[in-house]
Each structure stands twice: as C-alpha cells, then as structure tokens.
C-alpha cells in the first residue's frame, strides 16, 4: 500500500481524556493578516445580507396589501383562556430557546472566525485535544436542568387546559367533521347549523365557556381556531373534547388542520362570538322551523323532489338528509361551501349549478337543472332565513 505522507509536525497535544495541556500552542503569526481576512468575511456576509434584504423588499413591495389585522388568525393574539395559557407558555419557551440559541450560535461564530486557518499559516497541526470530562459533565448537567424546568412548566399548562372542569353555565356543542364541512349541534338548545359556530362571549364574572365534543363522520379532521385554542382532532370512533371561553365579541377565523381529502384546503371555519343577548336571539331564530311562502312553492317542490333531500335537511319539510349541511336557516349564514364563497343569491345559484367551480372535488354533485328550475330553486333557498 502506498501512502503519501505530508510531514506535519504537531505543535503539541493535550493528554488523554483528562484534558491536561502538555504544550502551549503557538498562535503568534496568525494575528498578522487577521484584519484583511475579517474584512473579506464581513464583505461576504454583507453581500448575503444585501441580497436577502433586496429580495424581501421586492417581495413586500409586490404584495403590500393592507389586510385587516383582526382577520389574521395569529396564535400570538389570544382571546380565550386556553390560547392565553399557551401564549404565556410559548413566551417562556421562546425565551429559553432564544437564550440557548444566542449562546451556542456565539460559540459557533466565534470558533469559525477565530480558529480559521490563515493564509500565512505555518502548516503545523494544532494541539490535539481528545476531550475533557469536566466540560462534558457541565454541558450534560446544565441541559438536564433546563429540560426539567421546561417539563414542569409544560405539565402544569397541560393539566390546566386539558383537565379544566366544566362549569354549570357552559354551552355544550357537538362538532362533527365531514368531508369538507363542519356540522355544529347544540343538543341542549335544539339548534343545528353548519360551518359557522356561534358562541356567547364569556367573562370572568359570568363564565359561559363553550365545551365542544368533537366527532367525525368520515375521515380525520382537526378543529383549529388559533386565537381561541390549540387544535384538537376529530377522529371517527374516538370522541374528543376541547373548550373555549372567548373574552371579546367578534369573528374568529380558523380551518381544518388535519388533511382530510381533496378539499381539505377549503374546509374553513368561522366562530362568531356574540354578546349574551345576541346569542340568545340567534338561538331563538335558529330554533324556529323553516317558513316558506307560496311565491316560492315551485322552488320548494323542485328541492323536495330532487336529490337535494338525500343530503340536506330543512326542518319542517320532508328534507332530512344528514350528509350535507342543514339548510333550515341557510340565509342566516355569511358563507356557503364551508367558507369557500360568500352567501349571495348569485353564488348560491352558481354553487348549485357547478360546485366544482368553487371547490373542485367537493362531494356536492352538480345538479344538472334547467335554468328555469335553477332560478326557482335559488329563489326558494334565499327564503330560508
């Protein structure tokens, strides 16, 4: 075997695992060219930074669309106790991980900058160090302590959220995930609705949290409204529970967070937090059966004699399907197709004609109606208030 041996004399080495230094290292020469090399390195870093900044600037100019900040479902703008607890825990974790990052990154940056091989290097091998038990012990024990702190802080929050008792004034809702929409049932109130959850605002003096039982009719889904609570999955044969107690009225945006099939992306979720009076009024409205006038009798006949009734229910009529959203108070909702479009007469008509134009892959079939029937049917549906 032929081996070419570059003959480098080692500068010295540190002895075995105990880490005692035998010889000092000679670092005199390398100071010489340092400033030039540092400048080169800084230049390179600056180049990268400029490139990054330019890219970002261009990007933000392209897309500087002012969006309504209340519509951003940020986990860092909590409005409900579970989301608040998570937010506080996450700040602690960010502080700890941020500190670890600062320390380790500085060590890395310092090592690379300080121990770079210089152009005028003498080509001698540096001191050969095999390790040090004291240092190893230090960087084992300190992380273990950090881990313990993290674990205890986390376990406390897990208990406070997951094992919170249900107070007597709580609203109970059963949320059922479907491909690709949400069914909400209020068993105690006798209300059934879809995609838009209404809950009362809860304040510490008069706590009316909403406790949800999560079920699935088909595949796995996940209930996620970032400003109200973390997500919990809806799994067939595996009832789950979560709760929210929103402290400010308004609209909270969320969507399905567990891949559930073709239209997972448009399984959007809206939570309307109403004042106690508004909520009470909403419940009263929802409990009424559907009323329909003779003016739309033709549309109603079309609805009740086509496949619509296989999937949809309208209280007080023959329509009692469960595969699709309950339409009894369809027009009380702001959106159709699980948030994919706003609820207008034109959108409703287009949706019935061709669901794929809003939501390709949705399970609602195109109804193949004549224009006349379509108009009559739409006219009937918009009376379902």
């Amino acid at each position: 075997m032929v081996i070419e041996l570059p003959c480098h004399a080692p500068e010295g080495r540190k002895g075995g695992a105990d880490g005692d230094s035998r010889l000092p290292r000679n670092i005199g020469q390398r100071e010489m060219n340092r400033s030039a090399q540092t400048r080169a390195l800084l230049g390179r870093v600056a180049g990268v930074a400029v490139l990054l900044a330019a890219g970002l600037l261009a990007a933000s100019l392209c897309l500087a669309s002012p969006s309504d900040p209340t519509q951003i479902p940020s986990i860092f703008k909590p409005q409900s106790t579970p989301a608040h607890s998570i937010f506080h825990l996450s700040m602690l974790i960010l502080a700890i991980t941020g500190a670890i990052f600062a320390v380790v990154f500085s060590l890395l940056a310092y090592s690379v900058a300080k121990f770079r091989k210089r152009a005028n290097d003498d080509d001698r091998e540096p001191a050969q160090v095999y390790g040090s038990n004291q240092i190893e012990l230090a960087w084992t024990v300190i992380p273990i302590l950090i881990v313990l702190v993290l674990f205890l802080a986390t376990a406390r929050v897990i208990r406070s959220i997951q094992d919170a008792p249900q107070p007597p004034g709580a609203i109970e809702v059963t949320a059922i995930g479907h491909q690709f929409w949400w069914e909400f049932r209020y068993p105690a109130l006798g209300v059934v609705t879809a995609n838009e959850l209404h809950v009362p605002v809860s304040n510490p003096a008069n706590s009316t949290p909403t406790f949800l039982t999560l079920l699935s009719a088909d595949t796995d889904h996940s209930f996620w409204v970032p400003r109200l609570a973390g997500k919990t999955d809806l799994i067939p044969n595996h009832p789950n529970h979560t709760w929210i107690d929103p402290q400010e009225a308004g609209l909270y945006i969320g969507q399905c967070a567990q891949y559930c099939g073709t239209q997972h992306a448009k399984m959007l979720l809206r939570v309307y937090v109403d004042s106690p009076e508004q909520f009470k009024q909403w419940v009263e409205e929802q409990k009424k059966p559907a009323v329909s006038t003779d003016a739309v009798a033709e549309g109603r006949r079309i609805f009740e004699t086509t496949a619509c009734v296989n999937c949809h229910a309208v209280a007080g009529t023959v329509a009692n399907g469960r595969f699709g959203p309950d339409l009894t108070h369809l027009m009380s909702r702001d959106t159709i197709a699980s948030g994919a479009a706003s609820n207008s007469e034109a959108n409703l008509r287009a949706w019935i004609q061709s669901p794929d134009s809003f939501k390709p892959g949705s399970l609602m079939p195109a109804m193949q109606l004549t224009d006349h029937d379509l108009d009559a049917l739409t006219a009937y549906l918009v009376t379902l208030r």
Binding site: G16, L89, L107, A127, T262
Partner: protein, 557 residues
Amino acid sequence: MSSETIALSTVGPDARPIGERLHDWIVTVDHKKLGILYILYALFFLVVAGIEAIIMRIQLIVPHNHFVSPQIFNRMMTMHGTTMIFFMVMPILFGFGTYLIPLMIGARDMAFPRLNAFSFWMTAFGGLLLYFSFIGGNGLYGAGTAPDVGWWAYAPLTARAFSPGHSTDFWTLALLASGVGSIGAGVNFIATILCMRCPGMTLGKMPLLAWLNLVVGGMVIFCISPLTAAQIMLCIDRYLGGHFFDTQAGGSAVLWMHFFWIFGHPEVYILVVPAFAFVSEIVPVFSRKPIFGYPIMVAATIAIGFISFSVWAHHMFTVGMSSYGNSFFVFTTVAIAVPTGIKIFNWLGTMWGGKILLRVPMLFCIGFLFQFLIAGLTGIMLGTAPFNWQLSGSYFVVAHFHYVIVGGIVFALFGAFYYWYPKMSGRMYNETLGKWHFWLFIIGFHLTFDFMHIPGILGMPRRIYTYEPGRGWEIWNLIVTIGAFFQAAGILVFVVNLLWSLRKGEPAGNDPWDAWTLEWSTSSPPPDYDFAVTPVVRSRRPLWDLKHPEDPDWKYE
C-alpha cells in the same frame, strides 16, 4: 497498521463494451458499486421530488392560484414526502454507509454481499412501484393516479371507501418492498460492523461513522418492522375484509397513527444519525483535531437510539391523549434534546482551538451545525404539548422538519458528497462551483424555511392547495417560493459539478484531505478488494499514527 508498500497492478480505463460494463453494475455484489448505485438512484429521486416541491410552491405563490388542481397538488404533496423520505434520504444514507463502512473498518466487503445487492434492488423496486402508480394507479374506479393520502396515509382516508382505485395500494406495496430492503441493509450494517473489523480495531477504536451506523442498523430493524406490519394490515383491510383501521366497521384510526409514528419518529433519527456520522468525520479533519469526547459521542448516540423509541406520540398531541399521556411524551421529547445537545457541543469542542479549513465540505458542516441548532430549538417548542396544539399541522411544523431534513441532513450529505467524492471518483470536485452551490443553496434554504415558520404562527395549516387572501400569509408564501428557486439553482450547480469533475477534475490521489481514517489509505477509487493487505490499527486515527510516528495517538488513548 501495516506500512508495507505493495505494488499493485495499475487499473486502466475499462475497455469492455458498454453492455458488458452495465451488466457488471446490475449483477454486482461489490459494496462500492452498490453504494454508488444507491446514491445515483437517490439523486434521481432528489430531482424528481424536488420538481414536485417546485410545483407545490408555484401553486402557493399567491392565494387562490389555479396552477394545478387540488387533486394534483395532493398527489404532489404525498409523492414529495414519500419520495424524499423513503427513496431519497434513506437510500442515499444507506449508499454512503454501504460504500464507507467496509473501507473505514478495513474490510473487503460487507458481511453479506448478496443481501446487500438484494436490499438495494428491493429499495429500487419500491421506488419504481411507487412511480408506476402514475400510469397504473387508476384501478377500476378512475379515481386518480398517484397516491394522494399524504405521506402518513392516516386511516381511514386509506380505506377503500375514501381511496377507491389502486393508488393507495401502490403506496402501501412500495413501502412494503423498500421496507424489506431497509431491514436487509440494517442487518448487514450490524453484521459488518460487529464481525468484519480489521485486527486491532476494537469497538472503542472504530471511526465514529461506524459506531453511528451500528446504532442506525439497530434502529432500522426495530422501527421499519412496525411500518411493514402496518402496511400488511392495511392490505388486509383493503382486500381481505379486515377491520384494523376501517373505522366504519369499528376499526381504529388512532391505531394506525401509533403504528406509523412508532416507525416515524425513530425514522427521523435513522436519517439524522448518519448525518451526525458525516459531520463527526468531516469536522475533525477540517479542524485538524481529533473528535472531542469520542466516548461521550458514542454514548450520546446510543442514548438517542433508545430514547427515540419512546417519543413517537409527540406527533399525536392533538389526537386527544390523556393529560398524563401527553406529559409523559413531553418529558421524553425534551429529554432527547440532552444527548443531541451534547453532540453539538462536542463538534464545537472539536473546532475550538483547531485550524479550520473552510473548504466546501466544512462549509456545509458549519451550515449543518447552525441549522440543526435552530431545528433542535423549534423541536423543543413543538415538543411541549400545549405549544404543539397550536403549531402542529401548521406550516411551522413543515418549516421545522425541513430544517431538520434539509438544513441538517441534506447539508451534511452535501458535505459528505464533496468530502468523499475524490475517493469515489478518483478526481477532485471543482471548488469554485462547490462554493457557488453552497451559497446558492444556503440563501435559498433560509429564504424558504426561515420564512415558512411565520404563516404557521399566523394559522396557516399544512397540506392546503390554496389559501384565502387577507390573512397575512401572502408575502411569506411568495418569499418561500422564491427561495425554492434558489435551492433548485444550487442543486443544478451541484449536479453540473459532479458531472464536470468526473471527467475534468484534478486527479485526487489517495489522501487529498490529509485525513486519518482507513479509506484514505487505499487508492482513489479503491480497487475491487479495497485493501491489498488487511490493515492493522492501534488507535482511532490509524493514518495519524502513520504520519506522526514520533507522536502517535495510541500512546494517549
């Protein structure tokens, strides 16, 4: 080791006709050829799955984009994940292991050369089967071509009620086939490392790469088996009327999750431990110092190997486990940060006081250290269950695990490519192109994956083919897509460099890095028999001993 000089017959260019040479590659049982086959096969799939990623990123560049349909997007996302994990990163790591382990422990081949070939061809067959689904996946129902159930293929989406046709069957059988290959490779790694070491190389004198691959071999056997079992159960559900995961007949969707993640989390370490192995070989050579704390590095790796089997349900914090169950998995998950942190500190300890040579392999290793540090810290965030309830299933998770797999593993892999390319090809790569590759790729990486964390925090779930405007996600998605193109440009430079250097590169010589492990003592590329005489070693750095007879390592170990 022996320092005798033995004249070897010079190996000239192969003059045989091309058909005969190709035939050689197909029937070979040589660990070096199989290693290269694994690597080339994986590089092909890197490009394929990269194109799938680009298609997804173009679709997401603006809200309500119509570049591809949801059906195609879902296939792209499923195929990208499945391909990258099972047919890119795993085979490429097995390839490097297969190539390097015998050379580094002074053996002439793996313990079971035929099993080695069998493992490769099973893996290759699995990949072909997966991609054949684009042609053959329609089945009777006309319900799509390639699988579209996500790379976890959560039940009951894989039940025949929701996945008619055969696309899911292609996914299942592809993983079943490649899983058999992986288990073969794992067995072979263990047997080779335990039985084939050259005289003098006790377990404590093995290169760290051998140690780490020994741990990987053990993990492969214990974690691929449940995956394989689950695939068989899924086949039984789909075709023999079983009800393991068939929720409509009372089966359990959560059971699949447990099966999948008891595989899935150790899998992450199966992928990352070989990356640790590359870094543990490259950083010492380019810092001109031995690895800091060798016994601790070994112990930390073994600890990771064991703990990694107790953390799987941190992928399931949102499925409704009890508070005690969640707390247990929080504890194990943050505990695994300790041995991982020890490894990072030891690499820093290796660099400290060295003379760091900033060649391309070392640049990629420094990139690895930086990104793996961040990936570990976002991992801690995800490991604490309540924070996970917000972050899991969002783009934050996507950013986190790409930080691990691209920022960590792929960077270490590129380091390994440039480090061992001279050994495998006999020629040096082009340093300038290598640096272009590094800078393009690291800029693209950070543009893509740094900014990908933010939409996750703003509530953007993963696996959505489009999103609503006005939620503050647009700008971040645009930047992420721009970064993807930088990465693609980096990969292009890399491929050009590999091909160009194969013909035009400077001859590398046996030992271009002045390195210390046995593979550098033989010619580049090594002869069929690896070593003319079986080497004998006395320390962890046999070539150091040879180069510094006045001050050998064995005096201190």
